[in-house]
């Protein structure tokens, strides 16, 4: 199956005085998985619900595969959806849940069972096909929900924070599985999440939303390493906020070092700005002549996070391999340098 193009154009939606969508434009290429990322209330779920037809837009259009679906009701849009809350029908078994959409499409008994079982096989739950939702774990329920959404061979797959009710380990597993299945079936997919790691891990492109509009959209690497705005830099990944001065040639001087600027449309040279430096771009080395000292460190498994107090009083967080952290006890004098990765400024 090949995916279709999905286009949201100029979508507006207001709840009372809140602009949940403020002229949102978003196009998904056929077969692409786009993750919408943002803090709660940024409009990402509203965007997905407008695309699903569960919410009406005040203005704008929804086009899927060249057809205008703006005024088409949700049950006629042929979209598969997985919800944040457990949404399996409690009175039906796993396979009956998956077959529900097929039944509504008047697909005959044998064909229906075959396709429902195929969908369950895709999510690896063939053995659980006769179980009721309350007999399954949260992860299994979400898998069945995914199978149910895919069984109808939808034009678009919509995932509304499908992993947020699950515990950490299952979440990572299912996240990878969703990506595998999505690549296998090739359905154009919109994935809404507030978890940046999730978004960066599964998406072809990540869109960061703020106040009802896209702040930046691009491949995960680009959004992470070259954030277009300070908001993106702060929301995606951790950042140190450090004072800097814009220098000539697209660089910024931060604590005496020249670093390349992430934004091309940067401010004029000489301007005082806040630079956002990633912890993994900060290198810490023991140096008894330095005035900077280690304030604290936190063990995170393979890496550790070390906070350093600079001579000027600024706190800088660095991510270092855990093998080095034994030399960096609190109070140790260290020298801080930055890797020459692009930084965002505001």
């Amino acid at each position: 199956m090949t995916g279709v193009e999905v286009a949201l154009a100029g979508l507006r939606r207001t709840f009372g005085t809140v602009h949940a969508l403020d002229g949102l434009d978003l196009t998904l290429a056929p077969g692409e998985l786009v993750a919408l990322l943002g803090p709660s209330g940024c409009g990402k779920t509203t965007a997905l619900r407008v695309l699903a037809g569960l919410e009406d837009a005040d203005a704008g259009t929804v086009t899927v595969g060249g057809k205008d679906l703006t005024r088409v009701s949700a049950n006629k849009r042929n979209m598969g959806m997985v919800f944040q809350a457990y949404s399996l029908f409690p009175h039906l078994t796993a396979v009956e849940n998956v077959a529900f959409g097929l039944r509504l499409r008047k697909i005959s008994g044998a064909e229906r069972t075959k396709r429902a079982n195929e969908a369950l096989e895709l999510v690896g739950l063939t053995a659980q096909s006769g179980r009721y939702p309350h007999e399954m774990s949260g992860g299994q329920q979400q898998r069945v929900a995914l199978a149910r959404a895919l069984a109808i061979r939808p034009a678009v797959l919509l995932l509304d924070e499908p992993l947020s009710a699950l515990d950490a380990k299952v979440r990572v597993q299912l996240r990878d599985e969703i990506r595998r299945i999505q690549l296998e079936v090739g359905t154009t997919t919109l994935f809404v999440t507030h978890d940046q790691e999730e978004a960066l891990a599964v998406a072809d492109r990540v869109g960061v939303m703020r106040a009802g509009n896209l702040e930046q959209i691009g491949p995960p690497e680009e959004v992470y390493s070259r954030p277009a705005t300070a908001f993106v830099a702060e929301f995606v990944g951790l950042s140190n906020r450090l004072p800097g001065v814009v220098a000539a040639g697209g660089t910024v001087e931060v604590l005496g070092q020249q670093l390349p600027l992430a934004q091309s449309d940067a401010t004029t040279p000489g301007a005082e700005v806040t630079a956002y430096v990633r912890p993994e771009a900060v290198e810490v080395a023991v140096d008894s002549t330095s005035e900077a000292t280690v304030a604290s460190s936190a063990f995170l498994g393979s890496s550790s996070r070390v906070t350093v107090t600079m001579p000027g009083g600024e706190l800088i967080t660095a991510q270092v391999p855990s093998s080095q952290v034994s030399q960096l006890a609190p109070g140790t004098a260290v020298r801080v340098t930055f890797a020459r990765t692009p930084v965002a400024v505001s």
Partner: protein, 265 residues
């Protein structure tokens, strides 16, 4: 251990006292209906199980029974048709209407039947004048009467499932509103629907005030009438209708209990 024994003793005492309180009058009724000129007789009960005999000897009673059963069935159906879609729709689309609707549905509980009759009398006078004086028209008054109980039962059922997510899931799979209601919501609130229906039936079978004051016929009116001419048969019928109500309520707690045990597993 000692405390537990005390508690269980207390429980038994309560059970026995309440049992005597409820069962003694029933026993007295049974005793009364089996009194004969010389010793015990099952004459009354023989009549009661013979429908042909009842129709022949007590025509008022037989019409009363038929009207009451029809009223009970119609009330339960009309109440469900009216309430279930409305409550689901309010939950999904008009959540701000929930409080006013709850207030409205519970209102009949606070209005004495006699006051209702004062209001209903002119309405039913017009119904009689324009359409007919059939006792089945009482169904509409009874739907209002059972609203508080039915609303509570259905509300509990709807609160136990995530109506919004389930219906959105069904709609995204291609279901229209009718299918959502019939194939997704109803099967999952089945026990709530059953309890609402049972409560309505029990209430209608026991209704006297409105029917009597509006000069309509039903079981209780017939029993009251019969009490003036044939005391034993009227007491026997009362006993049957009481036991029937008990059975309905037992069935109701059975339905509720089964649902709970299913949820736990």
């Amino acid at each position: 251990m000692n405390r537990r024994r005390k508690q269980s003793l207390f429980r038994w005492v309560v059970l026995v006292v309440l049992g005597v309180f409820f069962l003694l009058p029933l026993y007295a009724m049974l005793e009364f209906t089996t009194r004969g000129a010389d010793g015990r007789t099952a004459e009354v009960w023989k009549t009661l199980v013979d429908w042909g005999q009842i129709q022949e000897d007590y025509p008022d009673l037989s019409t009363g029974i038929i009207y009451s059963l029809e009223q009970a069935a119609l009330t339960a159906v009309l109440m469900l048709v009216l309430l279930v879609p409305t409550m689901v729709w309010v939950r999904l689309r008009l959540p701000w209407l929930r409080r006013p609707m709850e207030f409205l549905c519970l209102l009949p509980l606070t209005i004495p039947a006699i006051v209702l009759v004062v209001g209903l009398a002119p309405v039913y006078a017009w119904v009689t004048y324009l359409i007919s004086g059939s006792s089945l028209w009482l169904t509409f008054a009874y739907v209002i009467l059972v609203l508080p109980f039915a609303y509570r039962a259905l509300d509990a059922g709807l609160a136990a499932i995530d109506v919004k997510t389930l219906s959105e899931a069904a709609r995204s799979l291609g279901a229209g509103w009718g299918t959502v209601l019939w194939r997704v919501v109803l099967p999952n609130i089945r026990s709530a629907v059953l309890s609402a229906a049972f409560l309505s039936v029990a209430l209608v079978l026991g209704e006297f005030t409105i029917a009597s004051l509006l000069n309509r016929e039903n079981l209780q009116v017939a029993i009251n009438l019969l009490g003036k001419s044939s005391a034993t048969i009227s007491v026997a019928v009362s006993l049957v209708s009481l036991v029937l109500a008990f059975v309905l309520l037992f069935a109701l707690s059975f339905v509720g209990g089964r649902r709970r045990s299913k949820e736990v597993s």
